[in-house]
C-alpha cells in the first residue's frame, strides 16, 4: 500500500463504487475532462465515459434538482458542488425535496443522493471559496451530514454515503486534500455512518471536533500531554444523525469538554453539542464547556484567514482554561 492523499482517497472511493454499481452517476461543474478543480474526479471520465461522468452547465440548483430526479428513479447520483460557498442555491432542493421525499411519500419515493463539496479555509482561496456552512444543513431533518478528516475515513465514509439509502451532504476539507496522507487499502469496505471516531484516548479533557480542525486538535492533544494533561479526541465525522452516545460517555469520564470547529461560533454545530452535554452530562462536568470556533464575522480574505481559523494555541488556551477547574 502507498500513502494516499485525501483527494486521492475520494477518487478511489468514487471509482470503486462506480465499478460496482452502474447506477452511480457523477454530476458537476468541470468534473469531466478537467477532472474537477481539485482533481477529485481525475481520470474518471476516461474510465467510465461521458454518460456517467457529466459536466453540467453552471447551475447549482439544477445540479441538486437533477440529483433528486435521478435518485427518485433509482439511480445513485453523486454531485460535486465546486466549493461549498456555492452550495446555497442547492439548499432549496436539499431542504424542500431531497431530505423529505421519503417522508412525504411515506417511503414510496426515496432520495439516495450524495452532494460532495470541498469546504473550509486555509488554502488562500478567493472570496466565497473558504466557508464552512455545515450548521445550515445539520438543522435539516432527513439529511445526513458527513465531514471526514483523513484519507481512510474519507474513503470509507464516502463508500457508505453513496451506497446508503438516504441523502448525504459530504463535506471535504480542502486544507487536507493534499496535506493529509495515509495508507488507504482499496478494500471496498465502507465505514458506518452512525458513530464518531475516537482518535486519542484520555482522561482529563474531551476534545470534540470534525473536518480540518482535527489536525490542530491532534497537535493540541500532543502538546497537552507534554503539560501532563490527558486529552481524549473525538472526530465527530458524521454530524447528522449525531452519535452523541460516544461524546456523552467520554465527557462522563473526563468531566471536561472543549468543542472546536471552523464555522462561526453562534448557532454553529458546536452549540448543539454543548447543549446536549448540558442536558445529558451536566452532573459529570467539572468545568464549563468551552468552544473554540470561527468568529461571527464574514470569512476573511486570505491575508487575515489565519487569524480567523481555530489554531492549536487557541485550543490549548481552552484546554488550560477547563483544566483550571479542579
Amino acid at each position: 500500500m502507498a500513502d494516499r492523499m485525501l483527494v486521492e482517497a475520494v477518487r478511489m472511493a468514487l471509482a470503486r463504487v462506480m465499478s460496482e454499481d452502474e447506477t452511480v452517476i457523477l454530476l458537476g461543474e468541470d468534473i469531466g475532462r478537467n477532472g474537477g478543480v481539485f482533481r477529485a474526479t481525475n481520470g474518471l471520465l476516461e474510465r467510465f465515459g461521458e454518460q456517467r461522468v457529466r459536466d453540467t452547465p453552471i447551475a447549482e440548483a439544477a445540479i441538486a434538482g437533477l440529483a433528486v430526479g435521478l435518485a427518485a428513479q433509482g439511480m445513485r447520483p453523486v454531485a460535486e458542488i465546486q466549493f461549498s460557498g456555492f452550495i446555497y442555491p442547492c439548499i432549496d432542493q436539499l431542504t424542500n425535496h431531497a431530505s423529505r421525499l421519503r417522508t412525504r411519500t411515506r417511503g414510496r419515493l426515496t432520495c439516495p443522493l450524495v452532494i460532495r463539496s470541498p469546504s473550509g479555509g486555509g488554502i488562500h482561496a478567493p472570496e466565497h471559496h473558504s466557508e464552512s456552512m455545515e450548521a445550515l444543513l445539520t438543522n435539516v431533518p432527513g439529511l445526513r451530514v458527513v465531514f471526514p478528516s483523513s484519507p481512510k475515513r474519507a474513503y470509507g465514509l464516502l463508500l457508505s454515503a453513496i451506497r446508503g439509502p438516504d441523502p448525504v451532504v459530504f463535506f471535504e476539507p480542502t486544507r487536507l486534500y493534499r496535506s493529509a496522507k495515509e495508507d488507504v487499502d482499496d478494500s471496498g469496505e465502507g465505514l458506518p455512518l452512525n458513530c464518531c471516531f475516537t482518535l486519542r484516548e484520555g482522561t482529563d479533557v474531551t476534545l470534540v471536533t470534525w473536518g480540518a480542525t482535527v489536525i490542530e486538535a491532534l497537535a493540541a492533544g500532543d502538546h497537552a500531554a507534554d503539560e501532563g494533561v490527558s486529552v481524549e479526541l473525538i472526530d465527530v465525522a458524521i454530524l447528522k444523525p449525531l452519535d452523541f452516545e460516544t461524546i456523552r460517555a467520554s465527557v462522563s469520564k473526563t468531566g471536561r469538554a472543549v468543542i472546536v470547529h471552523e464555522a462561526p461560533i453562534s448557532g454553529g454545530f458546536g452549540a448543539e453539542i454543548a447543549a446536549r452535554i448540558a442536558d445529558e452530562a451536566l452532573l459529570s462536568l467539572l468545568a464549563p464547556v468551552k468552544r473554540v470556533a470561527g468568529y461571527d464575522v464574514v470569512m476573511p480574505l486570505p491575508r487575515l484567514e489565519q487569524f480567523y481559523l481555530p489554531d492549536e494555541p487557541r485550543i490549548m488556551a481552552a484546554i488550560r482554561d477547563v483544566m483550571s477547574y479542579t
Binding site: 439544477a62 435521478l70 417511503g107 419515493l109 452512525n194
Partner: protein, 348 residues
C-alpha cells in the same frame, strides 16, 4: 402542429363548441367522452374539496376551476410508463393517472399517505415550492435516457413558475442533454395576485424556450384536444430522442388562488365574468352535443356518477384515522437513528 412560440394559441374547438379545424385522429367519440368525463370529475372533485374546506373537514385547497382541460389534456397524452411531476393545481391530471380521490383528500386534509399513490407509483408528489420540480423532471428524464427507455418526464407548472431560475436551469440543461422531458405551463394569467403581464416582458411564455434552444408550442389551454395534441407530440419527440418541449397552455383561473385567497382584492368580477364563456367543460359539452349525440340524460347520468364517486371518496377519507404521532419519525431515514429513537420515545 408544434410551432416555435406562435403568438396565437392553437385550438381545434372554439369557445362556442364549433370545430375550427379538422380534429386529430385520436379525437374519436370514445376519447372525447373520456376527456369530458375526466374534466367533469375534476370539477366536481374541486367543488367537494372546497365544500369540505369551508366546513372544516379539509385544509387549504387549490381548486382548478377553469383549468381542467390543461390537466386532463396533458395526462391523457401520457403513457402509463411516463412520469408526471405535478404542481398543486393538477388534480385532473393526477386523477387521470390513477391517483385516487381519497388520496387527494388525504393529502389536502394533511396526511402524508395521500402522496403514497397506490396507482402511479413512479409519479412525483405535488410540488408546492414553485418551479422547484422542473429540475426533477430533467433528472427523471436523464435516468430514462441513460437506461435507454422510451419514456418521458412531464412536469406541469404555472405562469409564475417561468419567472424562476429553476425553470430556466431545467429547460436549459434538458436542451443541452436532449432529455425526454416535457415542460407544460398552465398559464392561468394570475400568480396569486400578480398578472402574467407583471411576471415578464416576454410576449408569450412559450418564447422562453428559445433562450434554451428547445422546441415550444402554444395552445388554447381551454381546448382539451389542443392540449392533448401538443403534449402528445412533445412526448413522441421526447421518446424518439428529439429532445424536450415547452408547451404553454393559455387558460384562466376562474376561482381564487386557494381557499385562503380572495381574488376580489386584485381583479374585477367583470374580468372573471368575461372569461367564463371560454371555460373548457361547457366548450366540450357543446361540441359533444352538436357532433357526437351527447344527450341530456347522458349528461345527467355522468354528473350523478361523478357525484357518487367523489361523495364515496369523501366518506372513505373521513373514516381514515390519522397516523399515530410516533409515525412522524418512521420515514425520516431508511432506518431510525438512535437519536431519533430517543426523540420518538419522548413523544409517548
Amino acid at each position: 402542429m408544434i410551432s416555435q412560440g406562435a403568438s396565437t394559441p392553437l385550438r381545434f374547438i372554439a369557445p362556442d363548441g364549433q370545430a375550427e379545424r379538422e380534429l386529430p385522429v385520436f379525437a374519436d367519440r370514445a376519447a372525447l367522452i373520456s376527456f369530458y368525463r375526466a374534466m367533469l370529475l375534476t370539477r366536481i372533485f374541486d367543488e367537494k374539496a372546497v365544500a369540505l374546506q369551508r366546513t372544516g373537514r379539509l385544509g387549504t385547497f387549490a381548486s382548478s376551476l377553469g383549468q381542467e382541460a390543461v390537466s386532463v389534456g396533458l395526462a391523457s397524452a401520457m403513457r402509463k410508463e411516463d412520469v408526471l411531476l405535478p404542481s398543486f393545481r393538477e388534480q385532473g391530471a393526477m386523477l387521470w393517472r390513477g391517483v385516487s380521490p381519497v388520496e387527494l383528500f388525504l393529502y389536502w386534509g394533511g396526511d402524508e399517505r395521500g402522496s403514497d399513490f397506490a396507482g402511479p407509483r413512479g409519479d412525483f408528489p405535488i410540488c408546492i415550492p414553485v418551479a422547484s420540480h422542473a429540475p426533477h423532471a430533467a433528472g427523471v428524464a436523464l435516468a430514462m435516457k441513460l437506461r435507454g427507455e422510451k419514456r418521458a418526464a412531464v412536469a406541469v407548472m404555472g405562469d409564475g413558475a417561468t419567472s424562476k431560475g429553476d425553470f430556466y436551469e431545467a429547460i436549459n440543461i434538458s436542451g443541452v442533454w436532449r432529455l425526454p422531458a416535457v415542460f407544460v405551463i398552465s398559464n392561468n394569467q394570475w400568480a396569486i395576485s400578480v398578472p402574467v403581464g407583471r411576471q415578464t416582458a416576454a410576449a408569450t411564455l412559450a418564447v422562453k424556450a428559445m433562450a434554451a434552444g428547445i422546441r415550444s408550442a402554444r395552445v388554447d389551454g381551454n381546448d382539451v384536444i389542443a392540449v392533448h395534441n401538443a403534449v402528445g407530440e412533445a412526448i413522441d419527440r421526447a421518446i424518439s430522442d428529439q429532445g424536450p418541449t415547452l408547451v404553454e397552455c393559455v387558460t384562466y383561473r376562474l376561482g381564487d388562488h386557494t381557499t385562503v385567497d380572495d381574488s376580489s382584492r386584485y381583479r374585477s368580477d367583470q374580468e372573471v365574468s368575461e372569461n367564463w364563456p371560454s371555460e373548457p367543460v361547457a366548450r366540450l359539452r357543446q361540441y359533444l352535443t352538436a357532433h357526437e349525440g351527447w344527450t341530456k340524460s347522458d349528461e345527467e347520468n355522468l354528473i350523478a356518477e361523478c357525484h357518487n364517486l367523489v361523495g364515496e371518496a369523501a366518506d372513505r377519507y373521513a373514516a381514515i384515522d390519522p397516523l399515530e404521532p410516533k409515525d412522524m419519525f418512521e420515514m425520516t431515514f431508511a432506518s431510525l437513528p438512535r437519536d431519533l429513537e430517543e426523540q420518538r420515545n419522548q413523544l409517548s
